[in-house]
């Protein structure tokens, strides 16, 4: 049996920006040691410095392409080496693509699925193996409301997110016996840097996004990180295999 450490440890993929960053801050505030990865070493450095200074915690980071299994392997190996124990995995990294199916190339489709879905699978497997040894773990997959309610022009994204929900249910089925719980969080439209950029470029209209919620509002990063915090703070083995929609009513308005 692997000994538990005093400080808990959370891996957050795509943890240097957006929802991942919000989660990292929330957990660091709770005293978690944090391990983050993304593609940009610059963002990682900035985030890591902030977390260490602000919350007096340890932060490990590494720039990787999460869609490559060997790079994920290297990352996880280093995290285990450094922290010895992994309490929480938050699969969060992902990309968007807005293109009609008839214009979509298979290379584009493959890229989205590799980053949005395969990275989650690689991380779940590699971190999961450690969690099985520990006989404890919490996996949270950031999915999307589009997993169940796709939007036109968002086929690759929607497919990848449906896959994530199925991954969540499968992990809960297979690994509950090792005291590993797994849930999805399915956000609606959240006001992230990514969306801000797309709005600025004129790719999407903010009003259209807002209209999909009941209260004509976009969600905030904290709306998601608060739920992540709740799932971890009140960790209940009775609460697993579910997809929790945080979407301002998007899914019932459809």
């Amino acid at each position: 049996m692997i000994k538990k450490k005093e400080k808990k440890v959370a891996i957050i993929t795509g943890g240097s920006k957006g929802i991942g960053y919000a989660c990292a801050k929330k957990l660091a505030k709770e005293g978690f040691n944090i391990a983050i990865c993304s593609r940009s070493i610059k963002d990682l450095k900035k985030t890591s410095n902030f977390l260490k200074k602000e919350y007096k915690i340890n932060c490990f980071y590494m720039a990787i392409d999460a869609s490559k299994n060997n790079q994920v392997k290297k990352f996880v190996k280093n995290v285990v080496k450094k922290f010895k124990f992994i309490n929480v995995l938050i699969n969060n990294c992902g990309i968007q693509l807005n293109k009609k199916f008839e214009k979509l190339t298979f290379d584009e489709l493959q890229k989205v699925i590799e980053i949005n879905l395969f990275s989650y699978i690689y991380f779940s497997k590699l971190v999961g193996l450690q969690m099985i040894k520990q006989k404890e773990g919490t996996i949270i997959n950031i999915s999307s409301v589009l997993s169940k309610f796709p939007l036109s022009g968002r086929l690759p994204y929607s497919i990848s997110k449906s896959g994530i929900d199925a991954l969540t249910r499968s992990l809960a089925l297979e690994w509950s016996k090792y005291n590993i719980i797994c849930n999805s969080i399915n956000p609606g439209h959240i006001y992230t840097d990514l969306i801000k950029k797309d709005i600025k470029k004129g790719l999407i209209s903010i009003n259209e996004l807002k209209k999909r919620s009941i209260n004509n509002k976009l969600g905030s990063l904290e709306d998601i990180s608060n739920f992540v915090h709740y799932l971890i703070k009140y960790r209940s083995i009775y609460q697993t295999g579910q997809s929790y929609f945080i979407d301002g009513g998007f899914s019932i308005k459809k």
């Binding site: 249910r169 809960a172 089925l173 009941i214 209260n215 709740y230 295999g241 579910q242 899914s251």
Partner: protein, 243 residues
């Protein structure tokens, strides 16, 4: 201390309801319990909890209770609806009287309470929360849970979404928690064989049914202002029975 948070817990004297009372008390909420039974009298008194004895079957008494609450402590901004009655009877076994009974307690009374609560709440600008306790049986049909129980809980789930749609713009946030079987007075008398069978189906390793805290902690989160973007949603907490 959450000064302005006043929570009404309907059915607060029972299993999940009383779990909520405990959790909300620890977080500093002002609590009002409405229940037809009062088995924790001393506890309510000791902890400054306001208690109304009522089965909320009559609109006139609901209105009067809501008025009294407002006078005493101000308008409540959270309503948790835990009232409900269990039955394991199949549709072919159940009498008309029993059908009426279950639908009354599980659907009609909650509707009356929610209706009057919304009416006084939409005048306010601030966010008001309604949290309903549905059931796993209300999603997929019941196995041990009776048909009428399942139907009534399906109604609660749908009611949740309708309210979110209709009154969301008026700052009413309505969500539903769907528990699997929980260790409460309601399930206490279930046959051992049934419980054992359910536990064996859990995907999680568990020696017993779920605890009231599995549900009441979720209630606490949904009641807080940290969850304001969750609207018309179902929170399933069922040990992985429905995956």
């Amino acid at each position: 201390m959450k000064k302005n948070n006043i929570v009404i817990i309907a059915g607060g004297d029972g299993g999940i309801g009383f779990g909520c009372v405990n959790v909300f008390l620890k977080s500093g909420y002002k609590i009002i319990v409405i229940d037809k039974k009062n088995s924790n009298k001393k506890f309510y008194k000791d902890n400054n909890i306001i208690f109304f004895k009522s089965s909320i079957s009559k609109e006139s008494s609901i209105k009067s209770i809501l008025r009294k609450i407002e006078k005493k402590v101000g308008k409540a901004n959270i309503l948790i609806n835990c009232i409900g009655k269990f039955s394991s009877k199949k549709i072919t076994e159940i009498s008309k009287k029993e059908i009426n009974d279950i639908l009354r307690v599980n659907i009609i009374y909650p509707i009356l309470l929610i209706k009057n609560f919304i009416k006084i709440s939409i005048k306010e600008k601030k966010v008001t929360k309604i949290i309903n306790i549905g059931s796993m049986a209300g999603q997929n049909g019941g196995e041990f849970a009776g048909d009428l129980y399942s139907i009534s809980k399906a109604g609660i789930i749908n009611l949740t979404k309708s309210i979110a749609k209709k009154y969301g713009k008026k700052n009413i946030i309505c969500n539903c928690i769907n528990p699997g079987p929980i260790d409460t007075p309601m399930t206490k008398n279930w046959p051992k064989k049934i419980k054992k069978n359910l536990i064996s189906k859990f995907k999680v390793r568990r020696e017993s049914l779920g605890t009231v805290y599995d549900v009441s902690n979720a209630c606490l989160f949904l009641a807080s202002d940290k969850s304001n973007y969750i609207q018309g949603s179902e929170l399933n907490i069922n040990g992985g029975l429905v995956i």
